[in-house]
Structures are given as C-alpha cells and as structure tokens.
Symmetry: C2
Subunit: 314 residues, 2 copies
Amino acid sequence: MELPELLVIHPPPVFIIHQQQFSQKFKLLKAYESPLSTELFLQAHAQSTKALICYGKSPITSDILRRLPSLQLVVTGFNHIDLPECRRRCIAVANTADVFSEDTADIGVGLLIDLLRKISSGDRFVRSGIWPKSIRYPLGSRLGGKHVGIVGLGNIGLKVAKRLEAFGCKISYNSRQKKPVHYNFYPNVCELAFNCNILVICCTLTLETRHMIDKDVLKALGKDGILINIARGPIVDEKELVKFLVDGEIAGAGLDVFENEPKVPQELIELDNVVLTPHRAAFTKEAFRDAFQLVLANLEAFFLNKPLISPVID
Amino acid sequence: MELPELLVIHPPPVFIIHQQQFSQKFKLLKAYESPLSTELFLQAHAQSTKALICYGKSPITSDILRRLPSLQLVVTGFNHIDLPECRRRCIAVANTADVFSEDTADIGVGLLIDLLRKISSGDRFVRSGIWPKSIRYPLGSRLGGKHVGIVGLGNIGLKVAKRLEAFGCKISYNSRQKKPVHYNFYPNVCELAFNCNILVICCTLTLETRHMIDKDVLKALGKDGILINIARGPIVDEKELVKFLVDGEIAGAGLDVFENEPKVPQELIELDNVVLTPHRAAFTKEAFRDAFQLVLANLEAFFLNKPLISPVID
C-alpha cells in the first residue's frame, strides 16, 4: 500500500524531533532538502499534494496556496497562514498550538519567580565562589500580593493567571475584548501597566501588537515594575526596553523572546536584573510528544475522510 | 522615659536589617559587640534582662537560660530553643517563622520550574553568546502531570503543595503523622521517593531527619528523579547526593541549602543539571518587614503585659 504524501516546506521542530515516526506513516515531500527551488519543488508536486505541515517560521501565504491547487489540509503549530484564502479554497486547517500553552504559562511563572527571588543570579553567585567570602546578598521581592497585568488573555494568559492566583497575586488584564472572567479588565495597556507591578506579555504578534510595549507603557510600569515576555520579541520595543533597564527606570525583565533572536543585545547580557532564555517556552519533551500525536491524528483523520481532531477550519 | 531592655546574643537577619528601628524602641544589649565573653556579658545583665530575640544560628540552650534568671520572653524566627526548660521556668516564647513560609514555598516552586525547564542553564546559554551559533538546546520537561512528594507537610510543605496543584501536579507526602488533607500519605520516605518523580524537602532538621535523604531514598527516586531542598542542608546526605548527580543516577537537584554552607561542593558547581541558591528561601524585603513588625508587636505586647501575638508558649 502506498503511503499518503505529506509536504514539508520547512521542517517544524515537532517534525525534526519525530521525523522517523512521520516517515513510517507518510511519503515525505521535503522541499527544504531538495536541490530545486521551493517554487520548482512545489510545481513538481502541485498536482498530488493534498496535505502539508508547517509552522510560524514558514508562513503559508496566498502565493504558496496558489501553487498548490490540490491542497486540502494544512496542519500547523501556529497561525501564520492565509486563513481567508484557505476558507475560500475550502482547505481545512488544523492547529496544534494549544498543546504548548501549559508549558508556555509555566515558563512565564518560572521567569517571574526567578527574577523576583533572584534564582539565576543567586546561582551565578554560588557558582562564582563568592558566597563564603560575603554573606551580603541583596534581598528578593515577594510574589504574593503583587498585582500582575496579563497582556492578552487567551489560552496562555488564562493559564498564567490561574497559576499566579495560587501564589496570592492579584490579576488584571488587557485584551482586545473584555472576557467573562473575574479579573479586572483594562481596555488600555498603558493604564494596565500603571496599575500593576508586573506585566506578562501573552498576546499574539500582529501588526497591531508590534511594539505595543513601548516607551509609554514602560514608563507607566515604573521604577519597581517588572516585564515578562513569553510571547514574541517584536511585541516589545527592545531598544526602549534596554534603555529603561540600563537606566533603572524599570526593575527587571524576564525574556524568553527577543526582537532579532537569536541575537540578544549585549546590554541585556551584561545586566544582573534580567533572566534570558533562548525561546524555549514551549520546548518540553511532553509538548513535542503531544504535538506529534495531535499532528498525526489530524493527518490520519484527514486521509480517512474523518473529522479533524483540532480544526481551525474544517 | 527609659526604654525597655532587649538582649541580642547574636543578631538575627531581621535585627540587622531593622536595627535602627529596634534601637528607637529598646535599649539594646548587644552581646556580639561587647568586648566581654558571652558568659560575662550575660552575667553583667543577668538581673535586668527580661526579653531576648534570637534565631536558628544562636540556639537558646538550657545553659543560657540558666544564666538569665529574670528572663520572661524569647522571641525567635525559628525553633532552636530549649522549650521544656522555658516551660518549666514560665518563660514565654513567640515565634515569627510563619512570616517566611510563603516565600520559602515560592522558592521551592521556582527552583523546580527552573530545573525542569532549564531557566538558569538557558540564561547561561544566552549569556555565553552560543545561541546564534547553535539552535540545538536540550528540551526541558513538563511540570504538569508530575507526581511530587512533599517531605514534611507543615506550613511550608502545604503551601508548596497548593501552588503545585495549580500547575497540574499530583501531590503525595511523608510526615511524622498522617494529616487531614486530600494528598496521598506515605509513612516511609523511601516509598514516597519510589512513587514520585520529584521530592521537595520541607521538614525541619532534627536528629531524626539528619541524613534522612540518603543513598536508599535517592536510589528509590531514580534516574529521572529530581530533588528540591528548601529546608536544611544536613537533611540530605550531600556526599551521596553529589555521587548520584555526577553518575546520572538522579536527573537533577534544586538546592537552596547545603550541608556545610556557605561551602558548596565543587562537583555541584560544575554540574549543569543543578540550580544552586545561597540559602535565600525566606529572604525578601516583604518577609523581613513582616518579621520586624511581628517581633516588635510581640515585644510591645509583652512589655505592656498583654497577650503575645504569635505565642509558642505564653
């Protein structure tokens, strides 16, 4: 029996990790390994390609969709797809992003505790061997009682909020729309920042959210304020953030994402009041196992003409 | 009006931080600044000393109590006091330890997230400048779904449990006695370790708990197991722990305390799968502010012949 074809233009991390298992179930059309240009590769497989998997770093534009007239299914980890065009063409889309939301929320809380309680900097202090020579080490700050502003109360934001409530934090949020939750809603992110000790960025990157965390928001957050970004680097105006941190105009930042990652500004690397992780919010063994299973289940359902497991459009 | 006398044999951290405020309210008798030996200092103030403050590192033994015939009150952050002798002598004891339990629980959770999700090691990775040269970085492990064993389900242990439930962890515990909680009780710490992915040490250090986390417990915890110690260093047999970590016989450790702190074994410092903080679980500005207020409130109540605010014995 012939295996169904699966197009991979650029390999998502879940594909790289579980490649062997994918290759047992599908005939893989790997554009990224072909000597042909993507354009010619797509042309070569245009008539047969029914399903593709993709992720945020390789957007599925209307141009790509136009080159694939037989396409019926897109499976993705994130939303970088021309959805209106998929709808018009009756191409089904399945999303596996929610598999990653628990782990992303955990990193948000982890960065915040780390920063307030000086865990990474304490670890540097111990490893440097200074501890026996000096009992002086600055006090941290308590998480309980802090007023935390969640920017973007979607799947991830809600999970961050739930966790921080267990630590005794007060939660408020900013979102495009007011949600049916018991947290305080601020329609303006500056006002949210002004009223909170901590901002946790959990929204998606769009034209509207690019550089949403700007000079004004940072100023409103204030000298004792803390910024956590577990969403996307360009949501924050990084040049301004660096300036505010260097000048002590905000108290600290926990950053899993950067505007031009993997490049991280040298000024950030030299600061002690920041915690910097290499965009790994969603990267756990368990998340990739779950993502693999969900991608597979969607593809299998599609090729058996059954309903998708996690449809965005079906 | 003369200020009431307050004896300080060794200064607790809360006293060091709030010394000026204490000196406005009390005539301070500082044994540790006197050219006299402690013995002679106590002798000089034996008749007048009614109240003292102390902490874990300067135990109030029956010998000290014998030298202070007028003593009526001991205010302490921790329990290193000859309580039976205090009872016999009708010396009141006030404890401020609970002020620190929220912050200590937070550090326990922080160390655990840090370790599972590689926050400190990710921070080292980013600061080293390797990220742009290498996208390979090992996956972390999900906190949700893990089975966590709390060793010592007192004030701190309960708070760790409550927090970890919000992350989707399953909680079990070992304690001298079964408690009225919905968590699974294991009367034997080895059995707890065998059934859990993670052990969080939250018990007090006593003759019975010294080296309670020994070779057998670590073996039961197993290759994928993680140990968090936010209690006291000597509860863990550190030599064995180092051996298990170096040999990969357990997966990692988050340690705020060490057997001979501030000395930390060089082998630990060289490992990437440990997070090491300099015994700062309780050290936040807010905890010391609260501790100061509680110590002061107890002393003022005592000198006004009113009931103590946080009595252990009154």
